[in-house]
Symmetry: C2
Subunit: 358 residues, 2 copies
């Protein structure tokens, strides 16, 4: 039986992609590109080609159980881990690690967000395979770092060290999202990679790291050892998970550990974090407009991204650099450069008009 | 039995209000303001309060028979005159006049578009009543002229003469839509009124005018005298109507006749010809945005008009002076100043994507 496992984290709400991404149907469940497969489904497909189906787990919110079952009918219900509350990535990963360890004490695990875009699946598979092999023989925490092709200010960066091991580079430091000037310096230096949020490790390596850097989380889940993969697991989780600190794996573990390595990759990756990110990687027409799915006629208009249901038609005139997004009775028109405010717009809508449109 | 009749012309397609106004459901059939009554229904209601229901006729296109029956259930089917083809207003009015003359040889007729907005119904009724009385005793062609409140360039103007008759002013000339400079001169002079397209006359006055200025149309319909209000009428019309010249009543008769009078009125009128006209007369919020029916949140946005179905929400940021209109799977965003091109956009859509969106 394969010792390779996968954990897909799919509990987010994707509020920066409102109004396409909604509380009841967030980004990871959407067929962004009209291909017939949602981001979650595409993520699953990628892993399902290299990891046994029964070794793939989804961690998500209780709200989304039906959506996950509908979109991933190959998964058994016990492969869906339902967080009772949102607690960021560290508690999520700790639980999944203990759950998997109870199935396979020597498991190698790749952890991935559900809602990223990857263009080159073959190269992606190759990187994951190599990584799983590397972590099976070394007590390391491996992350995939994307070779940057422009000075992106929306991503965190990873600085690499000179030290290498079997071709994998030691991580010197993780950095927060830089401003444009700093991002340019990072990219030119050749020492920095984008932090993809995709991790690979042996289950014992990550649990040791939790023990060292997040003892509170570690103790809490360690206490549940006798419950994982039993009928009592959810009772234990519902009691203990909400009590965990709300902390990311990056901040809680990766930035503190000294055995972190990075594999520099270039498989056409985007975290699809914003409309602008989607614009950047989408095919543009002669006027640099991007139309996702819908039919469009544009006059005196440039550099816009337009997203409406596929049976819709959009005619724009005299618009430059806008996001035009319509879904489920909500239309948003907003300058691309103001896209970070979309979350706030959605909050204002909630305050003024209630949950219906969120 | 009342000798007063009404002809409502409702066969247009309202293409300047695309995408709200569609070939299958043009402007006159829309509930523009969310009041529960369409423009046609409101027009009917206004006349129905002063003219017997059985004396009200609608001339429309065969395409819209079901819509008219649905929206005006008080009308009998023989009160709906179906044009086999669009031939502008002169042939339409000639037919309706002959049709009515066969019912009442001394009929007084008010002719009105179906899709205008009138705010002060009491004053409107009063004007119509006075006009019907005036034309019943005088061989004149009366038109209602709106006292202009701004130098509108979207309307034709009527210049008045010094000559008066019972308080009605003789018309000196009809003018085409002026440019802004000329419109300003018109308004300041006090000699000009907006041409409303609402006419009042005795049936014999208008038929005499047709005989004099449009002998071709006159002869054609005169030949049908024995068919009006018989089972053979539509056979005669289907044969003869399409052969009529495509000509407006203004150009074909009113501009040529010497017995044209105008009644200067101010009952809050708009021909609702364009989004801009609708914007001008609608209530604005603090940022001078107009929202028809839908819920809206606007940031850094001014002087826009927003129209979507009433259960929709629109969030705009950074837009000035735009039309934002969405209906039936079509979204249009266009600068208000470019609204005259909306017809062309709709034509382009037809060429590129077929009839579905038109």
């Amino acid at each position: 039986m394969s010792k390779n496992f996968c954990v897909i984290m799919g509990g987010g709400v994707g509020s920066r992609f409102w109004p396409m991404s909604r509380t009841k149907l967030p980004k990871q469940f959407l067929d962004f590109f009209g291909t017939g497969r949602s981001l979650l489904q595409m993520t699953f497909d990628r892993f399902n080609s290299i990891i046994p189906t029964e070794n793939i787990f989804i961690v998500t919110n209780q709200l989304y159980l039906d959506l996950v079952k509908e979109q991933l009918p190959l998964l058994k219900e016990n492969q869906i881990l339902l967080e009772p509350q949102r607690r960021n990535t560290a508690p999520c990963i700790a639980w999944a690690s203990y759950h998997i360890k109870s199935l396979e004490p020597e498991a190698n695990i790749v952890v991935s967000p559900a809602d990223h875009l990857i263009l080159n699946n073959a190269e992606f598979s190759d990187s994951i395979r190599k990584g799983l092999d590397f972590v099976s023989r070394n007590n390391v925490l491996l992350t995939l770092g994307i070779k940057p092709n422009h000075p992106e200010t929306g991503y965190g960066y990873i600085q690499i060290d000179d030290e290498q091991k079997e071709g994998f580079m030691k991580v010197k430091t993780f950095t927060e999202k830089p401003n444009l000037e700093l991002a340019k310096v990072f990219v030119e230096s050749g020492e920095f990679l984008w932090n993809s949020g995709i991790f690979i490790w042996n289950v014992n390596s990550i649990l040791n790291a939790f023990k060292e850097f997040q003892p509170e989380i570690h103790t809490r889940f360690e206490n549940g050892k006798s419950y994982y993969n039993t009928s009592s697991e959810m009772t234990f989780i519902n009691e203990n998970f909400p009590a965990c600190p709300n902390i990311s794996i990056d901040f809680g573990v990766m930035e503190k550990a000294s055995n972190v390595f990075v594999h520099g990759v270039a498989f056409g990756w985007s975290d699809l974090g914003t409309w602008g990110a989607l614009y950047d990687l989408s095919e543009k027409d002669a006027d640099n407009n991007v139309s996702l799915k819908c039919k469009t006629l544009a006059y005196e208009s440039h550099n816009n991204i337009i997203s409406t249901p596929s049976n819709h038609l959009v005619v724009i005139q005299g618009l430059e650099n806008y996001v035009i997004a319509e879904d489920n009775n909500v239309l948003l028109i907003c300058k691309k450069e103001e896209e970070q405010r979309i979350r706030n717009f959605a909050t204002d809508v909630k305050v003024n008009y209630g949950d219906e449109f969120i």
